[in-house]
Each structure stands twice: as structure tokens, then as C-alpha cells.
């Protein structure tokens, strides 16, 4: 962890970059904020890299890479997929970014720790496979695996797909991560059960737009849901239709471009498993149009801007998966 901070200082000192994009300390050990550092002093004082650096930094590079000077960005495997996807869409000025790949052992989530019944956590330390939490009510221990954020429990890849330099070792894809298990489980349910499941989940939506605004794939200058002139603007979900409408379209608009970084679910204040919508599209495209991982490279055509003459017909839906009826 110290190595990352050292690298940040070194890059700035050597003049290789003018700014560094990383994570900044907060009030607690877990509330780290993405930040741009411009001086070594700032980095020494506030830069951190810890198991609580969940935030994906790639999206910030859309704006940052358009500014003057070069910026160093520390990208975890997930972030690197988003970065490549954004490059592919010509949203990032590549020359202005110096990518430092950092390996990740799975990021922790304070809400996962709290879900274990630990209250008032003020500090943690890792002891082997255990997180020891200092709390207002004494010390409590949580297995590291239980503290992992939901998406990290089914990590698709530890591979950093693009970097200018690498800290630590690069990892590999994990095709057996089981990230589609829950999707399959839902597909196997009856339509009634699925409907009930999603009603229950989506009805919690408060339309805060956090999922949209954090998503590296949602990089439109103006979102269709903010567009008053089109009549598609939608500020509060009045009923279940509008909840469904927003989430179907949100997921559809990133279909074929979503790298499955899981930020949408991480930021949802209501813990709606939004990644299950995105993963459904990923699973479908994989099954129907061949394996495709968004952000894995700069060349492959994304499934929704591609076709073959013998693609399946939409009627395939009537007979696919689940018992449906």
C-alpha cells in the first residue's frame, strides 16, 4: 500500500506528470474520496490506497484528460476495463494519462461490515484473513471475505488490461467466478416470481441518479432522463412503471459497453442489485452473439453495433431459459 503512495510522489517529483488521480483520506478509515493531487505535500498528507478504495477512477479521466498537462491515474483491474472502454469510445485523451496499474485483492465495503452486526466502527486492522474492528462498543472481528463488497465476491478478472506501468503482478481472468449465478437463478424462476422480485427491489429506488452518474459507461453530455424538451425527463418515480422504465433504459443504454465494474450497485443507497440488470445483458450477448467483454481490448466490435446475417430472431426469447410461464 505504501508502494502506491511512493509511486505517486515519484511520478510528480520526476515531472513525468503534473497531477495524480487517486484517493484521499476521510474522517474515518473507510470514507475515501477520489481526488486530484497537485503537490507532493498533498500526497504525503492525504493520499491513501487501502482496501476501501472502491471508487472507480476512470470516469474522472474524461474531464481530467482534457485539461492541460499529464495526469497519472491509479487503476485497479476493474477500473482498467472501464478505462479501455472509454478509450474505445474516444472519451479520454490517451496521451494525457499515465496509467499505473494497481492490483486489488477485493475491496471492502463498510456496509458489508456493518451488516455483520458491527456498530460504530472507528478503525480496522487486518490480521490474516480477519478484519479486527475497533468500535465505540469495543473490538469486534469480521472475516475479511465477509467484509468484501458484493461485486468483489464474484470478481471476474484480476487482469489490468492496459497500463503504462504496473505495481505488483498482473492477474488473470476468472471465467469461473460465478458472476452469472444469480442471473441464472432468476432466469430459472417463473415470470411471476421474477416480477415480484424486481418489484420489490425497484420499488426502493429513490431516483437519486447515483447509479447513472457514477457509471463510467453513462458518459452522455445530457441524459435522456434529464431532457425536458423530449418529454422523457423523469425526476421522481411516480409509480412502478417509471421505476421499471428508468432501470430498463439505464441498463439498455450501457448494454454492450458495461464492463461490469459494479459501481452502480456499490453506490445505490437503497442496495438495489442493479448489476443483475447489467449482467443479464452481458450474459445474453455472450450466449447469443459470442463471448464479449467490454473494455477487454480496443478492437473488438461491441455486440450492439455489430451483427451477423444469421443472428437469432427475437422470438428466441419465447423459448429460452427459465420455465417462463
Amino acid at each position: 500500500m505504501q508502494e502506491v503512495k511512493q509511486k505517486a510522489i515519484e511520478l510528480l517529483q520526476s515531472g513525468k506528470v503534473q497531477r495524480v488521480l487517486g484517493w484521499k483520506t476521510g474522517e474515518f478509515f473507510y470514507d475515501l474520496t477520489p481526488a486530484v493531487f497537485e503537490t507532493v505535500e498533498e500526497i504525503k498528507k492525504d493520499f491513501v490506497f487501502s482496501p476501501f478504495c472502491g471508487a472507480n477512477l476512470s470516469k474522472y479521466l474524461i474531464a481530467e484528460s482534457r485539461k492541460e498537462g499529464k495526469i497519472a491515474a491509479f487503476l485497479k483491474p476493474c477500473d482498467s476495463y472501464s478505462f479501455v472502454q472509454l478509450l474505445k469510445e474516444h472519451r479520454i485523451v490517451r496521451e494525457n494519462v499515465h496509467v499505473v496499474g494497481v492490483q486489488c485483492n477485493g475491496m471492502c465495503d463498510i456496509e458489508a461490515i456493518k451488516a455483520q452486526g458491527v456498530k460504530g466502527v472507528t478503525a480496522v486492522r487486518q490480521e490474516g484473513e480477519t478484519l479486527v474492528c475497533e468500535t465505540l462498543y469495543g473490538e469486534k472481528s469480521v472475516p475479511y471475505a465477509a467484509a468484501l463488497s458484493e461485486r468483489c465476491k464474484t470478481c471476474k478478472s484480476k487482469k489490468i488490461v492496459l497500463f503504462d506501468e504496473l505495481l505488483g503482478e498482473n492477474g488473470e481472468d476468472d471465467p469461473d467466478c460465478g458472476r452469472f449465478d444469480l442471473v441464472s437463478k432468476l432466469e430459472a424462476m417463473t415470470a411471476e416470481e421474477r416480477f415480484a422480485f424486481w418489484q420489490q427491489e425497484l420499488s426502493r429506488c429513490i431516483r437519486c441518479n447515483a447509479c447513472r452518474n457514477v457509471c463510467p459507461a453513462c458518459s452522455c453530455e445530457k441524459c435522456v432522463f434529464d431532457n425536458d424538451t423530449l418529454g422523457t425527463a423523469n425526476k421522481a418515480a411516480a409509480n412502478s412503471f417509471e421505476e421499471q422504465n428508468f432501470h430498463i433504459i439505464r441498463a439498455f443504454h450501457v448494454a454492450g459497453r458495461c464492463t461490469d465494474c459494479g459501481e452502480c450497485s456499490r453506490v445505490c443507497p437503497q442496495h438495489i442489485p442493479l448489476h443483475l440488470l447489467n449482467r443479464k445483458f452481458i450474459k445474453d450477448t455472450n450466449e447469443l452473439y459470442g463471448e464479449y467483454q467490454a473494455g477487454a481490448d480496443l478492437e473488438t466490435r461491441p455486440p450492439l453495433v455489430d451483427f451477423t446475417q444469421d443472428d437469432c430472431e427475437p422470438s428466441v426469447v419465447y423459448t429460452r431459459g427459465g420455465n417462463g410461464k
Binding site: 470514507d31 474520496t33 456496509e111 466502527v121 420489490q200 426502493r204 447515483a210 457514477v214 459501481e263 453506490v267
Partner: protein
């Protein structure tokens, strides 16, 4: 002081003979204010994800309908007259937030939709016994061990204790048996011990007042504070005191429904006009939210801050930027 065994809560709530809303866990395990019915359990969690403001100021409500035909317009008012209802288990912070909302909605001109619900509500607050590290209600002089409301409740191992604070509250718990206060006092002492140790409990807000408005407004550090802000509305929507709203219309094909819904000053379209945008970047929008809570609101409201220290934004902000960080960065030396 009245006492009620925990096991008899259901029969007590039933005996009230009016709708009761209490924080209960939904199937996803999160607490939210739910209308009580047989089988709805009071949550064990400290607080709800959404605040209790929903019950007075719902995320969305219809104001009035219109029917338009040629040059004629018909106005259809359909005011629901509220019946009396009870909000059970409101925490001290949320209860304090009602007073802040009152200053907005009940000041002239009075908002009738809000007032109607407010007038018909009976608030039973619930003292905290296990605050989280994100709590900082003490910074605003709120005593989580002894909240306000029509009735104050304490929950111990096996019993609820109730104290009426108003005539309305008196009536509500009149039928209960008397109980001994010592258990409550013991719990309060324990809670206050924890409250005194809250990491942000002594947040220093000196200097956040009308006199320092321009100084705070022009502070150069708003840039670094706001740079990571996503411009989402999470902080606003989970906040118990945020009250900005939008008035919009929906055409059902038959009538035009004019409704109001929560809005967020963090959104780019909040102040956007055909003539221009007075807050063009996220910096201005971000600054507005915190300046409003910490400077503008207290200056207009006898020094009462637009924050109650519930800690929801500390827990929920996707990038973990929050009012505590703002106050410590822009604010007084007392924050070390």
C-alpha cells in the same frame, strides 16, 4: 413514566385504532417507515435509510389536476383530508428535522399539504441506545438519549418506557401502566457516555453564520471539496432536512396532473433557465447545498442549522464527501 412489555407492543399499537408508521426491515434488510399491521416488526437497526420526512413531505405528491379543452381550463382539486396517525420510533435527529421543515413549510405562506399531515400526526420518538460512528447530533445540541416529540420512548431489554410531552401524547399512552424510571436513567447514562465519544460529536461550527457569509462563499477550498462530486441526489434525498422541490406536470391523456417531487440543488437542471445557468459547474451547486445548510438557513432562522447530524449522508454518499468534511475544511479551528 409508563411501561409496556416489548411483547405487548402489537396489542398496544392495535389499541390505538389509527394508522401507525414504524421503522421496519424490508425484505432487503433495510429499515424503512412502514405502515404497521399485525406481523410488522419494529426494526433493530439504528435508523431508516430514508428519513421520516417522507411522511410529511413525500417524494412525490399530486397537487392539482387540470382538464383542458379548447380555450377552457378546469381546475380539479382533490385534497385528501388526513386522518390522525402515529409515527412511532422516530429518532431524535429526525424529530429535530421536523422542526426545521416546519420553519420552511409552516412559515407564511403556509403549505397546506404539509400542514394537513403535520397537524394530524402524533410523534412517538425513540431514544437511541447504540449510536453509530457517523452520528453527530450532539454537535447541534440534540440529545439522542432524550428526544422530543409528543411522546418519548425508551426501549430496554424487555420493556418500552413512555413519557408524554404534550397533551396529545398524554392521551395516547393514558391506558398504560406506570413504570419505574431507573431503567431509563441507566440507559440514558450509558448512551450519553457513547455520545460523548462520537468522533464528530464536537464538530465546531463557529464562523458558519450570516456575518461570515461572503468569506465562506469565497473560500478557495470549495474546488477541492466538490471536485469528486458526481452531481447525484443521494445526499439530498436521504437528508431529513432537505426540502427543495420541483413542480412538474404529467399528461395522462385525459387530465394534466400537476405534482411536486423532491429536487436536488446538486442537479444541473436545478437552476437552468432559458436565459442561462447561474450555477454552471458542480462547484457552485455543491457550494449551494452546504452554504444553505450552514450559513443561509441559520441566518434566516435564529441560528438553527439546516442539519441535525443524523449521519445519513456520511453513510450514503457514493464518493464519501459530506457536511462534516465541509465543515472541518471550511470551518472553525475547533475541529483540530
Amino acid at each position: 413514566m409508563k411501561k409496556l412489555p416489548i411483547t405487548e407492543l402489537d396489542s398496544f399499537l392495535k389499541s390505538l385504532n389509527m394508522p401507525v408508521y414504524l421503522p421496519s426491515d424490508d425484505p432487503s434488510g433495510q429499515a424503512k417507515f412502514t405502515r404497521w399491521a399485525e406481523g410488522v416488526q419494529l426494526t433493530q437497526q439504528l435508523n431508516t435509510v430514508r428519513s421520516a420526512k417522507d411522511l410529511f413531505f413525500p417524494q412525490m405528491e399530486n397537487l392539482v389536476d387540470f382538464k383542458v379543452q379548447d380555450q377552457k381550463i378546469e381546475i380539479i382539486e382533490h385534497r385528501n383530508v388526513s386522518e390522525n396517525f402515529v409515527i412511532f420510533g422516530v429518532r431524535a435527529c429526525d424529530a429535530a428535522a421536523f422542526e426545521i421543515l416546519d420553519r420552511v413549510f409552516l412559515s407564511d405562506p403556509v403549505d397546506g399539504y404539509y400542514k394537513e399531515r403535520r397537524d394530524h400526526a402524533l410523534i412517538v420518538t425513540m431514544a437511541c441506545s447504540a449510536p453509530e460512528e457517523t452520528c453527530f447530533c450532539t454537535a447541534f445540541g440534540i440529545d439522542a438519549a432524550d428526544p422530543k416529540g409528543d411522546v418519548t420512548a425508551w426501549k430496554t431489554e424487555d420493556s418500552f418506557f413512555f413519557r408524554a410531552n404534550t397533551g396529545k401524547g398524554e392521551k395516547l399512552i393514558a391506558g398504560l401502566a406506570d413504570g419505574d424510571e431507573s431503567a431509563v436513567q441507566a440507559q440514558q447514562a450509558q448512551t450519553r457516555e457513547i455520545l460523548s465519544k462520537l468522533p464528530n460529536g464536537k464538530l465546531d461550527l463557529t464562523g458558519f453564520d450570516g456575518a461570515h457569509m461572503m468569506e465562506k462563499f469565497n473560500d478557495s477550498r470549495w474546488k477541492e471539496l466538490s471536485e469528486a462530486c458526481l452531481g447525484c441526489g443521494t445526499c439530498t434525498f436521504v437528508c431529513p432536512t432537505c426540502q427543495c422541490y420541483d413542480v412538474r406536470e404529467f399528461n395522462t391523456g385525459d387530465t394534466i396532473q400537476r405534482f411536486r417531487c423532491w429536487d436536488s440543488c446538486m442537479y444541473s437542471d436545478f437552476t437552468k433557465m432559458s436565459a442561462g445557468q447561474p450555477r454552471p459547474t458542480q462547484l457552485e451547486r455543491f457550494r449551494q447545498r452546504f452554504m444553505h445548510k450552514l450559513v443561509y438557513f441559520p441566518d434566516n432562522n435564529d441560528g438553527v442549522y439546516g442539519c441535525v447530524g443524523c449521519g445519513r449522508c456520511l453513510q450514503k454518499c457514493p464518493i464519501h464527501m459530506n457536511i462534516v468534511k465541509v465543515a472541518k475544511t471550511i470551518g472553525g479551528e475547533g475541529n483540530g
